[in-house]
């Protein structure tokens, strides 16, 4: 028997287990998936926890409920990947040999990368909402907070779900308005990018929305430190921004396992072929989702589209065929804008998000790059799709892994 091992039972790893257990020859291949976590979190839900829109019970299920019964789930810490010897060393010393490895270990925040960020004000007036604990602590803070300067901040790119901090700013605006205290809150959006977003058309649309909602923007801000005494953030160029409440997206990094195994770049992301998803260093290692260094969004939708491509390429690899399936960088994201509205963007490596109709050209019903109630309901419905279709590897109707250009206003 040959052994296929998947590292990480998050969104990407779980989807790969569900795709592959049906598609590869089980008389020849064993499949196992390794992750020490017991709970699977619907990470897009973290955005809604601070505003009491979702409760924890909405976003947590058991990891094992989503792993097919003919895939072995190993719930142990992974100590090291010995890629030269095709071995995984587990926390308790056990060794797992593999013929084919899929790395799906994701990304996580690293507030310790910035001086003072994880300091005395951490979870007092400095919060993240990219972890379950952070989002809950922020919820408790927001329930009591009486107003002042709210600074929504991105430390450095790349980050998971690059639109989430914008959504946080929009939802905060609506939240405080709803609590009849919007006039007591100044919201500032601070980003290392030159504008609200990286691509021109969506930046223009999103900056317009920020203006409409009276959210000011500070761009090109490369943070050097959080000053806990003065409650300011300071950038390398000397700019200083005061805060009463700082909601930051800390530096995101790939898993420390990559550093321990010598497989990561300076942020612990695994150098990966952006089309085939094969690791650049080892032929029998493939990488998917947030763990890669490919220039696509770190988002569940990207992992979903990648999973379809990677499944094809794994089958090609097993048959010793050329890896002909090619990922185009397709991402598809709802952007919550508050007041039960949302935008939808759809883009890839080469095409920026533009306006248009989705998924059917000329028909929609969803509108791209434009606020609508329907998009908001689409975002909320997505939680159901995530648990019931996406993780199980069931294709989403009418939304293919390659981006379509028809129906869009380029």
């Amino acid at each position: 028997m040959k052994s296929l091992v998947i590292l990480g039972a998050g969104t990407a790893g779980t989807m790969m287990a569900n795709h592959l257990h049906k598609k590869i020859d089980r008389k020849e291949w064993d499949i196992s998936i390794i992750d020490e976590r017991k709970e699977h979190h619907y990470q897009p839900g973290y955005l809604f926890l601070p505003f009491d829109i979702y409760q924890p019970s909405n976003i947590i299920k058991n990891v094992k409920d989503f792993i097919p019964s003919d895939v072995e789930l190993i719930q142990q810490r992974i100590e090291k990947i010995d890629a030269k010897e095709n071995k995984i060393i587990l926390g308790e010393g056990e060794i797992i040999n593999y013929d084919l490895l899929i790395i799906a270990t994701g990304a996580k925040i690293a507030p310790e990368e910035i001086e003072g960020m994880a300091g005395s004000e951490w979870q007092k007036s400095v919060f993240d909402f990219y972890t379950f604990e952070g989002a809950l602590a922020l919820r408790d803070k927001l329930r009591m907070w009486e107003g002042g300067n709210l600074v929504v901040h991105i430390t450095e790119m790349p980050i998971k779900c690059p639109v989430a901090p914008l959504e946080f700013a929009f939802l905060a605006d609506a939240f405080f308005e709803h609590k009849n205290m919007r006039e007591k809150v100044n919201i500032t959006y601070v980003t290392p990018l030159s504008g609200a977003f990286t691509k021109p058309k969506s930046t223009a649309a999103l900056e317009h929305l920020l203006g409409e909602k009276n959210i000011s923007i500070e761009s090109d801000f490369a943070i050097a430190e959080v000053n806990n005494e003065k409650k300011t953030i300071v950038d390398y160029g000397g700019k200083v921004i005061p805060f009463d409440l700082l909601v930051t997206v800390p530096t995101n990094k790939g898993d420390d396992l990559m550093e321990r195994s010598g497989l990561g770049d300076e942020l612990n992301y695994v150098p990966t072929n952006k089309e085939t998803l094969q690791s650049q260093a080892f032929e029998n290692i493939f990488v998917i989702g947030d763990a890669t260094n490919v220039p696509a969004s770190k988002a569940g939708s990207v992992a979903h589209f990648e999973a379809e491509i990677l499944t094809e390429n794994i089958l090609h690899y097993i048959k010793e065929e050329p890896l002909s399936a090619s990922f185009d960088g397709h991402a598809n994201c709802f952007i919550e804008t508050g007041h039960n509205k949302a935008l939808l963007i759809d883009f890839n490596y080469t095409h920026e998000p533009v306006s248009g109709l989705f998924p059917f050209p000329g028909i929609g019903p969803l509108q791209l790059l434009k606020e609508s109630m329907l998009n908001h309901w689409g975002k909320l419905a997505f939680r159901w799709i995530y648990w019931n279709m996406l993780l199980k590897g069931i294709p989403i109707p009418f939304v293919g892994s390659h981006m379509k250009t028809a129906g869009k206003n380029f």
Partner: protein, 102 residues
């Protein structure tokens, strides 16, 4: 679009970045630095060479990476190229503006 820089006509994009690195030379780098109000020192040139090498090797650039380049740390980088240093430095180096992935 075309732009006349240091007596040479070169192709640039709408933000003024050279679109063909082969058209770059040191005089063009100096003229672009002048436009950006940066006076180039040997340290600047060392960093420009580093950036050009990284781009040639298709290695994505970031401020963090410059900080680990061994040429400068991030604070020194900001001293050399005040305000949005990576954008300024890449423009002078004649390479594309780094794409922060979305």
């Amino acid at each position: 679009m075309e732009k006349l820089i240091a007596g040479k006509t070169v192709q640039v994009n709408e933000e003024g970045y050279l679109t063909n690195f082969n058209e770059w030379n040191k005089e063009i780098g100096e003229a672009l630095a002048l436009e950006a109000q940066v006076a180039l020192t040997p340290k600047h040139w060392e960093l420009i060479n580093y950036i050009q090498t990284e781009v040639k090797n298709e290695s994505p650039l970031s401020i963090r990476k410059i900080g680990k380049s061994g040429v400068v740390d991030i604070k020194e980088f900001y001293v050399l190229f005040p305000n949005a240093p990576l954008k300024t430095a890449t423009k002078i180096a004649g390479v594309p503006k780094p794409a922060s992935c979305i």
